[in-house]
């Protein structure tokens, strides 16, 4: 295990091998038989589970949690808890026609909400294993936090009320900086700003409204002698350049982004890139050989400088332990692993699916393809945008939402040749990929079909 190895890579130095960082959030609980809710609300269970991650997966770095709802909960959002997923946000306290920003006095204190649990675990882990593995403190990014407290309207605010959107984001930046401060004090050496919904916003809006805020976050983290990583979900290919300009030490991407092309961009800015083992097709539903093959192929085809191998995002609860171990082996002992996969043949275990006959539909059919709309914030807001159609047209349309975490729905996504998640299809045709449609765009299209 090599904490120093990982830190070297974050300093953009040459290293002996590529570092490995498994994102075991709720999956950590699965290793000890605890539910997602248990590990996110019980200090002892979280600590025990993370020690198991450290033991089993030999991480060079690891996050202490992957819960993006901690701050939103403190700021008044109701949460929907699940046993095998992190909680999701149910209500948005600043929704509505009045354009309000929370008062600075609402910035979380160390004693608020579930923060004491995580801060205590951070301190304990730092004492126990902090010299061997680099600990990541994950913080929900300011845009995702703004959309949690304001609701899906925040995406319209960016267009209609940009000054307000900027003010709201700047409040969220202050919240992020406060948490960075707490986490670094508790022993975190790497702060990851996780902003999944960023891929839904045009690079120009990010540049005009939010770039200064993100830059302030990474400058603040650096002033604390910690490293700053920028995590994004979904197809963030277009946003990568502006993300680089916010000057993080590392950017982490999921399987929606082509890592080979992405690295060409991050290399221009001398920024480390992390990614992007497919969470479901390889890690959840694949076998050990699939995972080894994926990682070895990736390492064979990409420059190792400024590179971290990790899952694309928070690992699903039920990922088989052996698949994660296979990934670890492939990174740590690449040459030996190569022998295991000499005779590799991919096995297609996907079931047959029958797609709707799009030429004979009774009424317009809206299909939303998501990674997991309950846990992936970008997907949640894409689904909420599509649900506007139900509000407006009632039973004059059909709405179906799919998750990329069952074999049947993976098969459906493949049969439809969906390239990027989340995407919205109408009557079998791709209409929006990654970027969330506005109410007006959606209704203009449906008016022509009804």
């Amino acid at each position: 295990m090599g904490k120093e190895l990982l830190l070297k890579v974050l300093r953009h130095e040459e290293a002996d091998r590529v570092p490995w960082v498994p994102f075991a959030g709720v999956h950590a609980g699965a290793l000890k038989g605890y539910s997602a809710r248990e590990v996110l609300t019980d200090e002892e269970k979280l600590y025990e589970s993370l020690m198991e991650v450290f033991k089993l997966y030999e991480p060079d770095g690891m996050p202490v949690h992957f819960d993006l709802q901690i701050k939103a909960e403190i700021l008044g959002c109701e949460l929907l808890w699940a046993e095998e997923n992190p909680p999701s946000v149910l209500s948005h306290p600043f929704a509505g026609t009045e354009l309000k920003v929370p008062c600075k006095c609402k910035i979380p204190k160390k004693t608020d909400g579930r923060l004491p649990i995580f801060l205590n675990v951070m301190e304990r882990l730092n004492k126990e294993i902090g010299d061997k593995t680099a600990l990541y403190g994950l913080i929900c990014g300011p845009i995702t936090l703004a959309s949690h407290i304001r609701g899906p309207e925040f995406f319209m605010d960016i267009i209609m009320y940009p000054d307000y959107a900027k003010q709201m984001m700047e409040f969220c930046v202050e919240v992020c900086n406060t948490l960075s401060d707490y986490y670094v004090e508790a022993g975190m050496e790497i702060i990851a700003i996780v902003d999944p919904v960023l891929s839904q916003i045009s690079p120009k809006s990010i540049e005009d409204l939010f770039l200064e805020g993100f830059t302030a976050i990474f400058d603040f983290i650096r002033s604390k002698d910690a490293y700053g990583c920028f995590f994004v979900c979904g197809n963030a290919t277009l946003q990568l350049d502006v993300m680089c300009r916010s000057n993080p030490d590392c950017i982490s991407i999921d399987e929606n982004v082509n890592i080979y092309e992405a690295k060409k961009i991050t290399d221009q800015y001398n920024i480390t890139i992390g990614g992007n083992i497919p969470l479901t097709t390889a890690m959840l539903f694949g076998n050990q050989q699939d995972n080894m093959k994926y990682v070895v192929d990736m390492l064979d085809n990409i420059d190792h400088k400024n590179l971290i191998v990790s899952p694309g995002c928070d690992m699903p609860y039920h990922i088989p332990v052996e698949n994660t171990i296979a990934c670890a082996q492939a990174v740590i002992n690449t040459e030996e692993t190569r022998k295991f996969i000499e005779n590799y043949e991919a096995v297609d275990n996907l079931p047959e699916v029958t797609l709707p006959d799009y030429n004979k539909l009774d009424k317009p059919l809206i299909e939303v393809f998501t990674l997991d709309w309950e846990t992936c914030a970008a997907c949640t807001y894409m689904v909420k945008a599509a649900e506007i159609a139900e509000e407006v047209y009632g039973d004059k349309i059909d709405l179906r939402v799919y998750k990329y975490n069952t074999l049947e729905e993976i098969a459906r996504t493949k049969a439809m040749e969906v390239e990027k998640l989340p995407s919205i299809y109408v009557n079998g045709e791709l209409k929006w990929k990654s970027i969330i449609p506005s109410r007006q765009e959606l209704t203009e299209l449906l008016d022509t079909l009804i």
Partner: protein
């Protein structure tokens, strides 16, 4: 108990004026309620040397909904002291136009009320004409004041002083204007002039949480070379409304005050643990990057916190 409100934008000279009043007026027992915009009480420390009844409320404007409760409780607590006059020095970004509503609540809660004399607003002659165009709070402070003190007139031309007078009377035709250098207007003169003047009508205050400025406190445990710190302040002051606090340097301790292009460093005789300076940004959150990057680019070694 009489109550006087003192308003004025950041750096106009409120604290200087108040300190003079406290020093020169021995016949009154005066209590002061101070409102600091940042999280740290810089002005409070400056006033405290006079040893008087002082309450501080920090973190925003006392007229903002979220601090109003602290403000009301502070006023109630001062009512029980043996005082002749309470002066409320409000933060530079305060919009005091709902003062009367606050005082009615105090009366309801405490069972007795204040004899509210009115508001005095102090403006900086040097920057007023520019600031007034962009900062709504300045206009609301003048609109609600019975008296306006135009301070630092030695730094402005006659012609511009006439423009300032015209502009103040356009905002508030009934206001009485005093002119001063270094806040040299005596309290009895103010009290004489204010008596009998009608209080402007109450309005909903514009001080909502969202129009707060970004403020941060720079702290440093180690002594900083004074010349380096002065260069640092010169580099960042174009991006600030105000820089104010205490410097612990290799040349001793200093009170730091910067507004616009002017910076002052006054020797501070008392012991301080560390450098603590409030920076009020005029460029929003970008100030975080500017502070850290400027510090680093200038090669300053002492580790700082800015939050």
């Amino acid at each position: 108990m009489k109550l006087l409100l003192l308003t004025g934008f950041l750096g106009a000279g409120k604290t200087t004026l108040l300190k003079k009043w406290l020093k020169e007026t021995q016949s009154f027992r005066i209590g002061v309620l101070m409102n600091e915009f940042g999280d740290m009480g810089i002005d409070g420390r400056l006033i405290e040397e006079n040893g008087l009844t002082l309450l501080e409320i920090s973190g925003g404007s006392v007229f903002c909904a979220c601090l109003k409760e602290d403000y009301i409780l502070g006023l109630i607590s001062l009512l029980s002291r043996d005082l002749d006059l309470v002066i409320v020095e409000s933060s530079g970004m305060s919009d005091p136009s709902n003062m009367e509503t606050v005082l009615t609540t105090v009366k309801e809660q405490a069972g007795k009320g204040y004899d509210y004399l009115g508001a005095v607003s102090i403006v900086d002659a040097r920057y007023f004409l520019e600031q007034q165009k962009v900062i709504v709070a300045i206009n609301r402070q003048i609109a609600y004041s019975n008296i306006v003190v135009v301070n630092k007139i030695d730094l402005q031309t006659e012609e511009n002083l006439k423009k300032i007078e015209k502009s103040i009377h356009e905002i508030n035709p009934k206001s009485c204007i005093f002119y001063s250098e270094y806040g040299n207007v005596a309290l009895p003169e103010i009290l004489n002039a204010i008596s009998g003047r009608p209080i402007p009508d109450a309005e909903e205050s514009i001080n909502t949480p969202e129009n707060r400025l970004k403020t941060g406190v720079l702290t440093c445990e180690k002594p900083i070379p004074k010349t380096d710190f002065m260069s640092f302040v010169d580099a960042i002051k174009p991006y600030t409304y105000r820089i104010k606090g205490f410097l612990k340097s290799d040349k001793g301790n200093f009170e730091v005050s910067s507004v616009g292009t002017l910076s002052h460093y006054r020797h501070w005789p008392e012991n301080i643990d560390k450098t603590e300076v409030v920076i009020i940004s005029s460029v929003g959150i970008k100030i975080v990057s500017l502070v850290h990057r400027t510090w680093k680019e200038m090669g300053l070694k002492a580790p700082i916190e800015f939050k």
